[in-house]
């Protein structure tokens, strides 16, 4: 009954590998493959499996299951993967609330968890764990990058907006941590709200010189369309989530020119990234999103550690993960003391290449940036 995806998934016969790898590694991926948030999980999964496939490593076995965005279901699947499938490593969770439900219990049972998305502040600070590695970012990172960029760009009166839930308050806190100007307004909207006419009216009346939004998924699409239609011309700033490949098509031309921050971009100039973007497009027939890049990096990290140490030797494997000795699509990549990345945060601009909306890097906002919670982590 299990959906076991062996490395040779894409039609390649599973043959005995000629290369001697230390030990087979079993990876359990819990991610969102159904419902409204499925796009993100599918990108993480596809990026992850692409890296495994390219490596030709037959000793990595991946089990994928859908959490349907329900924390209780994610917990159940995690239990099953740990107790029944006997996985060595868990990964895949998209949403912070699901990660908070699964990660503390998984690492307490001695499993490794590698986050390809979602970096809640608790897990970066006081509740950090030696077996928890975040390969994406700490939740605040991209917001901090944009706060810093707002200063550079000369904005002095920002209107800031996010949904009323922990990641939303974290986002605005992150922005304010670096942004030095005044606030023209601060609004917390209802989670999953789809009509922003009331908020846009307030933005119009506020006299702001910039608008910072953190509205992931459908919320961002709805906001951007309505904002463009409303004719309020105040420039919009946002984290990369709201302006990446998965949603740009749905926002349409309204997104052109929006500045956003990301730790990755499809035009980052390094050989790994070039290969990644080309092969992803060839394999799946679409451009990769930042989620796909995070899935790809997560798999690359596992492959690099598996080549160095046996996963059964937890200390050695942990040290191998910590070394982060892999070629990241982001270029330089290293872990801080709390096992969260220290990385560059780029500023991108949404552009149109032919018929396709995509991002192009216009600068670096923060170099070798580490999250604000690292000092709270006693590791």
């Amino acid at each position: 009954m299990k959906k076991t995806l062996v490395a040779g998934l894409f039609g390649l016969a599973v043959s005995v590998s000629g290369v001697a790898f230390a030990e087979p590694v079993k990876v359990g991926m819990i991610t969102t493959l159904s419902g409204g948030g499925a796009g993100l999980g599918i990108d993480v999964r596809d990026g992850f499996l692409l890296a495994i496939k390219q490596s030709g490593n037959k000793d990595i076995e991946v089990v994928v299951e859908d959490d349907a965005m329900k924390p209780e279901l994610a917990v159940q699947i995690a239990d099953k993967m740990i107790q029944s499938d006997k996985v060595d490593i868990l990964t895949g969770i998209i949403w912070s609330n699901l990660a908070m439900a699964v990660v503390p219990n998984a690492v307490a049972q001695g499993k490794f968890y590698l986050s390809p998305n979602a970096g809640p502040s608790a897990l970066a600070g006081a509740k950090c764990d030696e077996n928890y590695f975040n390969v994406a970012w700490q939740n605040d990172n991209l917001h901090e990058g944009m706060g810093n960029y707002a200063n550079t760009a000369g904005y002095k009166n920002s209107f800031i907006l996010a949904p009323n839930y922990p990641a939303g308050t974290d986002a605005l806190t992150g922005y304010k941590r670096f942004y030095k100007g005044e606030l023209a307004g601060e609004i917390y909207t209802k989670l999953a709200q789809t009509d922003y006419a009331a908020e846009i009216a307030q933005i119009r009346a506020s006299g702001a010189d910039s608008v910072y939004i953190f509205l992931p998924g459908g919320m961002g699409i709805a906001f951007m369309k309505q904002y463009a239609q409303s004719g309020v011309g105040i420039p919009v700033l946002g984290p990369g989530f709201s302006f990446d490949q998965d949603v740009l098509g749905a926002i349409g031309d309204a997104a052109i020119g929006v500045k956003n921050t990301s730790q990755w971009s499809k035009d980052l100039d390094n050989p790994t990234n070039k290969t990644f973007v080309e092969t992803f497009q060839a394999e799946y027939g679409r451009l990769p999103s930042l989620y796909a890049s995070q899935g790809y990096d997560t798999a690359s990290l596992i492959l690099s550690a598996a080549a160095k140490a046996s996963v059964k030797d937890a200390d050695a494997f942990r040290a191998a993960l910590k070394a982060a000795d892999f070629k990241s699509v982001r270029g330089d990549f290293k872990f801080g003391n709390n096992h969260h990345p220290i990385q560059d945060i780029y500023v991108r601009e949404v552009v149109k290449e032919g018929d396709v909306l995509t991002n192009k890097i216009i600068g670096v906002s923060l170099e070798d940036h580490q999250d604000a919670y690292a000092s709270e982590c006693k590791m």
Binding site: L33, S34, G35, G36, A38, G39, I42, N164, E186, I187, Y188, T189, K190, A192, T194, D195, A197, A198, E199, A201, Q202, R204, A205, G217, G218, M219, G220, I221, A222, K225, Q226, Q229, S230, G231, D246, V247, G249, A250, I251, G252, A254
Partner: protein, 306 residues
């Protein structure tokens, strides 16, 4: 507070209410005539949006997309009625809840199967982009104004349909006495299918119009569905007039609550604490209003048939 901002917010509330009315009218009609609770009404809304987006992208015409959304939702409604709902008329509400809950799952995953996991693109037609000037220096977006007008037109159309036509006479008869109408020799099966398709088409229309403003994605129907139920319960189930009043009330209360409550609480608790408390209360507000109304009037404002 500026008057222009308040005017704009009130219009926003009305526009939101109109959208809810399109959903609620279909729901309340289906309940009034057939006594069926249709949880899958939100899926028909989603279907309308997807059909509109797909056809608009393929043909480049929003208007063709709008036609497609009506056709697709009406067809889906008719099929659902024939295959599933028809068997549930003499069951209790419980079975209807379960069956239509199952339909939500089927529609959601079916749509994702058909259209993929990523949100679709749908924008407003160029003719309706831009804003218009209103008295007192206010400006309002043309497309939203158009939605309000469509909603009013639908309300008038439904009124005429129900009070002036043969079909409407049958619907009224069906609402007051189901056995009677069968005894009169009306083909009740066809009537039910037609009413169901009509309700579905209204939901599809709402989905298509709102899809141009929002994100066309799987799961978009459920939040609206819950609100539409709030509307018909406040208005009195089975009453189109009640749905209209309830929709306007919910639209205005929700929009103005979101706008005013955080500012109100900020006066006492300071901006940060105040906005949090205000936003929290705003999200609960319409449910509070609904509970209050039902506590006073257990059958809603305009209970139709007894």
């Amino acid at each position: 507070m500026q008057t222009t901002l308040l005017i704009e917010q009130i219009l926003n509330g009305v526009q939101f209410g109109v959208m809810l009315f399109l959903m609620a009218a279909g729901l309340t009609l289906i309940f009034g005539v057939m006594g069926v609770i249709n949880l899958a009404h939100g899926s028909l809304y989603m279907l309308g949006a997807f059909a509109c987006a797909a056809v608009a992208t393929a043909t480049g015409s929003f208007w063709l997309g709008l036609m497609a959304s009506l056709a697709a939702a009406a067809a889906a409604g008719a099929i659902v009625e024939l295959l599933v709902i028809r068997r549930l008329y003499d069951r209790d509400h419980l079975d209807q809840v379960l069956a239509t809950f199952a339909l939500i799952l089927i529609f959601s995953e079916g749509t994702r199967w058909l259209f993929g996991s990523f949100p679709l693109y749908l924008n407003i037609p160029p003719v309706l982009s831009g804003a218009v000037d209103l008295p007192a220096g206010a400006r309002y977006q043309l497309y939203r104004l158009a939605i309000i007008l469509v909603g009013i037109a639908v309300a008038i159309g439904l009124y005429l349909l129900i009070s002036k036509t043969r079909l409407g006479m049958r619907i009224r008869a069906g609402q007051s006495d189901r056995e009677m109408i069968a005894a009169l020799g009306v083909d009740i099966r066809t009537l039910y299918t037609v009413v169901f398709a009509l309700g579905a088409a209204l939901a599809g229309l709402a989905g298509a119009m709102v899809g141009a403003l929002q994100s066309v994605q799987v799961g978009m129907g459920e939040p609206v569905l819950i609100l539409a139920f709030v509307v018909i319960v406040i208005g009195g189930i089975g009453s189109i007039k009640g749905a209209l009043v309830g929709a306007a009330l919910v639209g205005l209360v929700d929009t103005l609550g979101r706008f005013l409550l955080p500012q109100f609480f900020a006066l006492f608790l300071g901006p940060s604490q105040g906005t949090t408390v205000g936003a929290a209360l705003a999200s609960m507000l319409i449910y509070i209003v609904m509970a209050l109304i039902l506590a006073v009037r257990p059958r809603g404002l305009f209970a139709a048939s007894t």
